[in-house]
Symmetry: C2
Subunit: 456 residues, 2 copies
């Protein structure tokens, strides 16, 4: 089944479109009315004539047009009834935001069973319940009931995020907006009464706007199916997973959070590895590795060249590389000779290269050029300290051009405050993966290398 109408519907209906500001249905309706969605929007609320300028219908069946995607946020007691109507109207996609299903225990489990029965054998596909739903940067479908002053929407881009946890998902979206990372689609899928993470992976793998898929998972619905699909898909498009519920306490917490059986982490870890999926260790790595994989090509090998104007960071970067699956590249004699020509007398032509604190963007560029041509170098890791007198904004242009022309992957890093972060965002907007610490750049390159190794 095509992904099209979930993410790119021509008509949507918001059922439970409350008049009251702050209510879920009200916020969702406003997202569609004010957020740039170009299709038709219908509001359903039997108690109101109009909400946000939209005529309200008494029920789905009164809407004069065929609906592609219905978003339901009504109280749990009536939610299944409303889904039943949507099924009857043959609406292809329903997002059921309403909570109060299997995540609340026995009573909810019964409700979820009933929900599943209503969907069985029907054409309607359901996302949720107990979810935030879909945000799409291109079509502007936005079922997130979180106000945009609190949760900024990121720019259009090539990263898809799917999340079993609403809070995890939405905060990562907010974080993406802050850093300026472009996102294609976002899905918080909740209890997976119908649509599972595997369905979403399958759809997003075909999606032309998406270059990499990042998934937060507590427990997958059907392990075997997930493994097989991931194996098939990861070769084509990077999949990055942050698995929560790895430890005993975490696993206990997961079962009361999403009702997931988090299962043995060893089994997951093995499955990720064999299926070509790359794992992230926390929420920062989740982003770091994902954008590295979205922006950069896989490396030939694991040898990294470090170029810095801050010697201390060169030293600690070498430590971080040694602690990872990567290696500090050994330069050829030719490279060393060339480096000697451009560095001050006391500069060292060994890796990590310290271009010295008085380097300007030009010297930095020359060093980058020289090492990028070294056959022993598979990846580049420029660490730029913008606090020095001589290093200026010119370095941003250097890194941009360099990243565009270079086949070898790159992960830049910059450590500092507001002035530094402005440059960092500029680079990020231009798809030069740039991290706030060298360690994070190493982790991102390691993820890229693991992706290549696991999918050859």
């Amino acid at each position: 089944m095509s992904i099209d109408k979930l993410f790119n519907p021509e008509t949507v209906a918001i059922i439970g479109a409350s008049r009251e500001e702050g209510k879920v249905g009200h916020t969702v309706l406003r997202n569609f009315v004010e957020g740039g969605f170009s299709g038709e929007v219908y509001a359903v609320n039997p108690k109101a004539d109009k909400v946000l300028g939209k005529k309200c219908y008494d029920s789905i069946k009164d809407i004069p047009e065929k609906i592609d995607h219905a978003i339901i946020s009504v109280p749990p007691k009536v939610a299944n009834k409303v889904v039943e109507q949507a099924v009857k109207e043959e609406i292809p996609f329903v997002t059921l935001i309403t909570a109060g299903y299997k995540e609340i225990g026995e009573k909810g489990e019964k409700r979820e069973e009933e929900l599943k029965e209503k969907l069985e054998g029907e054409d309607t596909r359901l996302l949720g319940p107990n979810c935030l739903g879909v945000w799409d940067a291109y079509s502007k479908v936005d079922t997130l009931f979180l106000p945009d002053y609190k949760l900024e929407r990121p720019p259009k881009g090539s990263i898809a995020i799917i999340s079993q946890s609403g809070s995890f998902g939405s905060s990562t979206l907010d974080k993406a907006a802050e850093i300026g990372i472009g996102v294609s689609r976002f899905v918080s899928y909740g209890n997976q009464a119908d649509i599972t993470e595997t369905d979403l992976l399958e759809w997003l793998a075909e999606d032309e706007e998406t270059e990499a898929i990042a998934a937060y998972i507590e427990g997958v619905k059907d392990g075997r199916k997930f493994y097989e699909k991931a194996k098939e898909l990861a070769e084509e498009k990077p999949i990055i997973v942050f698995k929560a519920g790895k430890s005993e306490s975490g696993s206990d917490a997961a079962s009361s959070h999403t009702g997931s059986l988090a299962g043995s982490y060893q089994v997951y870890q093995g499955a990720f590895k064999q299926s070509g999926v790359v794992e992230a260790g926390d929420v920062e790595e989740f982003f770091d590795i994902t954008r590295e994989l979205a922006y950069e090509n896989p490396p030939e090998g694991n040898k990294v060249a470090v170029i810095t104007n801050g010697g201390g960071y060169g030293v600690s970067a070498a430590d971080h590389i040694d602690e990872s699956d990567l290696e500090v590249a050994e330069f050829t004699e030719e490279t060393k000779e060339k480096l000697k020509d451009i560095l001050p007398d006391y500069g060292s032509p060994n890796n990590p290269i310290d271009v010295i604190g008085d380097a300007d963007a030009e010297r930095y560029e020359k060093a980058l050029e020289i090492v990028s041509e070294d056959p022993n170098v598979d990846m580049l890791m420029p660490i730029v300290l913008l606090q020095t007198i001589t290093m200026d904004s010119g370095i941003v242009e250097v890194l941009k051009e360099f990243n565009n022309e270079l086949d070898k992957p790159l992960a830049a890093s910059m450590v500092g405050g507001d002035y530094t972060n402005l440059h960092l965002q500029n680079l990020e907007h231009n798809q030069v993966p740039t991290f706030r610490t060298p360690k994070r750049a190493v982790k991102a390159l390691e993820g890229l290398y693991q992706y290549k190794e696991r999918n050859k």
Copy 2:
């Protein structure tokens, strides 16, 4: 010898006070003239009459007053000569910014030997060479030759930073300013021709404005002395170390960076542990652990209570805790009963507590109060997601008050974009340690626990 005149001089002289903007001596002079330093400032430059409105003297000996702290930034060829003059004038403290000493190889090593000879047996103490020198939040001594639009100076506070690497040190200062972390003193000490990291530790341990000392170290000058002093001092005041040059490649890089023999990391690691020093794994942890130790009291034990309105983060926090030296606390039956009263039916009274996505600041506060009284809980870890409709700025007041009244240490975390970060900075300004991810909060609490364990 007292620390006073290095950090808090009544008179300073800037030798090499260039007319040219962008030059080191010019920037340093401007820092003193425009930066709020309340003592007398003298400029030395035989080629100029006035720089930045200050009369220029031909040499140190022409200055009519006794100088407490001379800052020298002249070319390496004449630097030793100038130091000799300062010694002759019995200036108690000299900061020698000039580079071109042992870090550049043979020629520089000779120069450094000569420098040491000039200091031998004299009262003058020298910081450097090849350093940024001192920044003091209280006295406004500022020898950093980095412009303040590039390197923001942080607010006054209780953390002292000492760094063998200028770039590492200055970028952390810049980062502190960005987050709003208060700093007392900063020292980039370079080659340690005279004043060593151990001297600085000793001084800062006595400093009333300093609550915790963070040190970036590649190789210590005198291992035995460092170990003994650290052991003596760490009991009184937390010392946090980020050691670079741990691995083979890192150690090689360190020797060409600061000419340090980085030495066996195993030896360092053992010495840190036994002397009560806490280690940070990278530049972010360096800050995270330091401010946790500066702001919070050590815990009684290692049991953590996690309270969150974002269930997914509760799950992953439990994982991070299980991976650390800490444990997820098991609540008493009394606590569980009390939690049941304030949580929705489907909320779980187990740790991590999910107060559910519809929680407001009030429900959150009640949960915090209940678990903080549980005798099985040693530390609190609130994870707040501000993206939800019901969670508002009220949570900032809750956490502030809570942190003030509570004996048990706390490490908050918030994940998000600009809106979230504003609240995070507000908390940080009020000395509530607040981190950008739950994993970083766990690492900070672990550092606090390790400090307690290593110093009992």
